[in-house]
Amino acid sequence: MEGDIVQMGAYIGAGLACTGMGGAAVGVGHVVGNFLSGALRNPSAAAGQTATMFIGIAFAEALGIFSFLVALLLMFAV
């Protein structure tokens, strides 16, 4: 019986960890949105900055991936 409660806690925790991905979504959207608003003002400078945009996306996304990792650990490792 106690094992069941522990498992329930792990599943609830995994679900809660997934809310962190929403933060990553906001972050990635913010990066791309700002890139686009800058790029439309000065399209000639935009091409050189796409690599920077992808680096920004990668850093914003990393934290969302960590929450995904926590969810996976709760589901399969704990």
Binding site: G48, A51, F54, I55, A58, A62, I65, F66, F68, F76
Partner: protein
């Protein structure tokens, strides 16, 4: 472990596709057992070999179609290394291009039906990321000596803040291989699992009536859309892995902020 409902008509195991199985039967997996991961890594290497060795064999001045694909990929990564890591980073271009080719080919081969995505395993991507991390750290100390530590001591910041910033920089430096590897594996795994979840909804037409009949066409449309997204993600994640390798290389070559 995920719950297993054998009483229901709708049974799905979206994570089963990532299981490692021995190729030639048997249950035990030793270090040397050929598994499906081995098979698909070998196919990845063969595909790269076919494109870059057999495809460019003619060395034509006016390239054939397959040769121009190889040249396009080569030029793309060459320019990226030069832009991000600088001219002196070009010395390390062969390694970066090898990593890029391996990741992009195993991502795309993993998209084939019934295929096994080798990059969806953290064990595989962790090796790739740790190789980059260890190489870059050693390279930084060899090139700059103790000056490499100035990467953590930000001289542009006010003096009282510097110890705190140094602590944050050190932590973020050691988290790099973690995020570097899990980003790739997580994206690959999540995308394939989502496709499998929708695929499990598709046969609902067989057991349901009424509004449940609408689920099947909707899930097939969803699979198509997510598959298209996955094709994009497969390339972008390889690109992101490579560009971060270039950024880390730049930090090792020029640690001064």
């Amino acid at each position: 472990m995920a719950t297993e409902e054998h009483s229901e008509g709708l049974v799905f195991h979206p994570m089963d596709q990532f299981q490692i199985k021995p190729l030639f039967g048997g249950d035990t997996i030793h270090m040397y057992t050929p598994t499906n991961a081995t098979l698909w890594m070998a196919l990845t290497i063969l595909a790269i070999f076919a494109l870059f060795v057999l495809g460019t064999r003619g060395r034509a001045t006016v390239p054939t179609r397959i040769q121009s694909i190889a040249e396009l990929g080569y030029g793309f990564i060459h320019k990226m290394v030069e832009d991000v890591a600088g001219k002196d980073g070009l010395k390390y271009f062969p390694y970066i291009f090898t990593v890029f080719c391996f990741i992009v080919f195993s991502n795309f081969l993993g998209l084939l039906p019934k295929a096994f995505t080798t990059t969806s395993h953290i064990a595989v991507t962790a090796i790739l990321a740790m190789a980059v991390f260890i190489t870059v750290t050693i390279l930084g100390f060899v090139k700059n000596g103790a000056g490499f530590l100035s990467l953590f001591w930000i001289s542009a910041a006010p003096l009282p803040l510097r110890p705190l910033l140094a602590l944050i920089e050190v932590i973020s430096y050691f988290v790099r291989p973690v995020s570097h590897s899990i980003r790739l594996a997580g994206n690959m795994m999540a995308g394939h699992a989502v496709i499998k979840v929708f695929a499990a909804f598709a046969p609902l037409v067989l057991i349901s009536t009424g509004i449940g009949l609408a689920v099947t066409p909707l899930s097939i449309i969803a699979i198509t859309a997510i598959y298209a997204l996955e094709v994009l993600v497969a390339f972008i994640q390889a690109y992101v892995f490579t560009i971060l390798t270039c950024v880390y290389l730049k930090d090792a070559l020029h640690p001064h902020h």
